[in-house]
């Protein structure tokens, strides 16, 4: 398998919380430059996988590899430096800071000036700040956030905050972007717009994306491949159409067998 075919890899990944097996024996590969979606009913372990990748949880078993490097036991704050950025299901922005400050915090992994020179605000710090600002401004332009630049996050509507979170992740200049339910809480138009952003990020910026999502319309519109999970195990993997027509997946979502029941029809 070439490096690009297995740009990001999870091998036999499992996570237990006491007796609960949230994720068990999950193995998958993500190719460089693709959008890879993880779907599944509530409690399937999707967000748990994300939290293991961003090292908020330490896997109980298995390993994670990114760009040829084992990242299973790396410190959580080093993940951003490797080029892995994420967004959160329920938005975890810095709500008492302005949009611009939020984006600049996203630049943290790229700031290397020593603390003592920051205390004196030496010219090197000033120059670095202006460079970060320039990068943040590119992201603002890419996502069309100009009019909110100096507003506090707490004053922004939910839909805009979702885009800001995407922007903050882009400020990390990631190679791999983890999107945890990018459409949750958004209306139909906003969801469609989110789909366009995701496609733009994939095509224009060449960023590999792993996405957890419930909205199947968005999933089919943007994903190259889809992984379906149920109760911590892999049900199906393939293109969006393949996964959606897999009887196992249908059973997990709807419950029971998908065959038509003639008695029921008679009753109606």
């Amino acid at each position: 398998m070439s490096q690009d075919d297995s740009y990001f890899a999870a091998r036999d990944l499992s996570m237990r919380f006491g007796g609960i097996r949230a994720v068990e024996g999950v193995t998958f590969d993500v190719r460089k430059g693709e959008v890879f979606s993880i779907i599944g009913p509530n409690g399937a372990g999707k967000t748990t996988i994300f939290n293991m990748i961003s090292r908020i949880y330490t896997p109980s078993g298995g390993s994670l590899h990114f760009a040829g490097q084992d990242i299973t036991r790396i410190a959580p704050h080093r993940i951003a430096g490797l080029g892995i950025a994420r967004t959160f299901q329920n938005i975890e922005l810095f709500s008492h800071a302005t949009l611009l400050q939020n984006l600049l915090i996203g630049r943290h992994a790229h700031s290397h000036v020593p603390i003592l020179s920051q205390l004196a605000f030496l010219p090197s710090v000033r120059q670095a700040e202006i460079d970060h600002r320039r990068k943040a401004e590119e992201v603002i332009e890419f996502l069309g956030l100009q009019r909110y630049r100096d507003q506090l996050i707490a004053n922004l509507p939910y839909g805009v905050r979702k885009v800001v979170e995407l922007g903050r992740a882009l400020c990390i200049e990631p190679k791999l972007l983890l999107l945890d339910e990018p459409s949750s809480g958004l209306n139909v138009e906003e969801t469609e717009e989110m789909g366009f952003w995701i496609q733009d990020i994939q095509k224009d910026l060449g960023i590999t994306i792993i996405m957890v999502e419930h909205d199947m319309k968005l999933v089919s519109a943007v994903s190259n491949r889809v992984l379906a999970l149920n109760q911590g195990r892999i049900l199906s993997m393939g293109t969006s159409a393949q996964v959606q027509s897999d009887p196992e997946v249908i059973r997990a979502y709807i419950g029971g067998a998908p065959e038509p029941a003639p008695e029921k029809e008679a009753a109606i």
Binding site: N51, S54, I56, A75, P76, H77, R78, I79, A80, G81, A85, R86, F88, Q89, N90, I91, E92, L93, F94, S95, H96, A97, L100, Q101, L104, I105, G106, R107, H108, A109, S111, V113, I115, Q118, L119, A120, F121, V125, R126, E129, I130, R133, R134, E137, P157, Y158, R168, I172, G185
Partner: protein, 358 residues
């Protein structure tokens, strides 16, 4: 409202927002420099007290207001700074060395306390710092050989390059100079990556970590800087009181410092100054009104601490943004004068924050 027109990124890095703001700060500075020549000894002394509290307030503001870590033990840092400076001066160390030494040693104590306690958060951290505060209080009492215990310690008069800093006026200029330096330091922190990391930790630890911020490291740095600045305030406090006694650095002082930050307004340097002014005025106001209060209320013991408590609770309930919040609202009201909207400052909660990852 005045709109800002920006033409370069460097403009956002300026210390003051506009030339007009520089003008106002300059004018304020001139007035402050002239005050000892215009007002009497008493007022100069009171103002020096405000400056000392403001220095400590800035230190604690960086910790509580910007990093979101509550400390109930900052009186201990004030005490360590005051005693370090006084003891070094007694041993003949020149003031230009003893003052920074007081700040650095206190910062070092901040690191030592920070390493074990900063794994805690919220109430647990507050309790741990409270315990640290009382331990330091006991050490200051019992280590008779170093601190003089309850006999107290006279603070020698400092001199810089042969210029003796004497009396109320000397302390006034000394603490003003320290305050200005500390404010510049704080503003530098807040416009650099360090300050943003602190704000990130305050607002969401989980995503701060995902942005590559090393939580334990930045919390310890914030604690050290806050402690160090409070240590400098302690050194100035020593010269302000001229005499150090261990019971001066107890829980009441810690609570006064926290009150400065909360009443002034969390998350603003202006707030630290407003809070310091308030906290220094309050005892005077109480003293003045003591005789005119009905039912002998004025002679009640413990009137002052209980008033501090009541005011703190009222501010948290009705104006969480503190005096600074009021100030900003007033400014805005006058700025938009006839067109002010009543709902402009109505608080709203628009989404539920996730507690799942804590």
């Amino acid at each position: 409202m005045r709109a800002m027109f920006r033409t370069s990124y460097a403009q956002d890095l300026l210390l003051a927002r506009s030339p007009a703001a520089w003008g106002w700060y300059g004018l304020l500075m001139l007035v402050l420099l002239a005050i000892p020549h215009m007002l009497g000894e008493f007022y100069v002394g009171e103002m020096a007290g405000v400056f000392v509290f403001a220095i400590a307030g800035v230190g604690l503001m960086l910790l509580i207001g910007y990093t979101g870590l509550v400390s109930l033990g900052h009186a201990a840092f004030l005490g360590i700074g005051a005693y370090t400076n006084a003891i070094l001066l007694t041993k003949g160390v020149p003031f230009i060395f003893s003052l920074p030494a007081a700040g650095l040693l206190t910062a070092l104590f901040g690191v030592l306390i920070g390493i074990p306690t900063l794994r805690m958060s919220g109430l647990y951290l507050a309790i741990a710092t409270l315990a640290f505060g009382s331990i330091v209080g006991i050490v200051l009492e019992k280590w008779h050989g170093l601190t003089g215990g309850f006999d107290g310690l006279a603070v020698p008069t400092p001199a810089i390059f042969g210029y003796v800093i004497e009396g109320r006026t000397g302390v006034y200029y000394l603490s003003l100079a320290i305050l200005v330096a500390v404010l510049l330091l704080a503003m530098n922190i807040l416009r650099s990556p360090l300050g943003r990391a602190m704000v990130a930790i305050r607002d969401s630890e989980i995503s701060a970590q995902s942005m590559g911020i090393h939580l334990a490291f930045y919390k310890t740095v914030a604690f050290a800087i806050s402690a160090g600045i409070t240590g400098l305030a302690g050194a100035a406090y020593g010269h302000y009181t001229n005499y150090l006694a261990p019971d001066g650095f107890g829980i009441l002082l810690s609570i006064q410092l926290v009150t400065i930050v909360f009443i002034g307004g969390l998350g603003s340097l202006h707030g630290a100054i407003f809070g310091a002014i308030f906290i220094s005025m309050l005892p005077q106001a109480i003293a003045l009104s003591r005789d005119s209060l009905p039912f002998g209320l004025g002679r009640l013991p413990g009137l002052e601490p209980s008033l501090f408590g009541i005011i703190l609770v009222l501010v948290i309930m009705f104006e969480p943004a503190g005096i600074n919040g009021r100030w900003l609202k007033a400014k805005r009201w006058f700025g938009e004068f006839p067109l002010h909207r009543r709902a402009a400052f109505r608080r709203q909660k628009s989404y539920a924050k996730s507690e799942r990852l804590r």
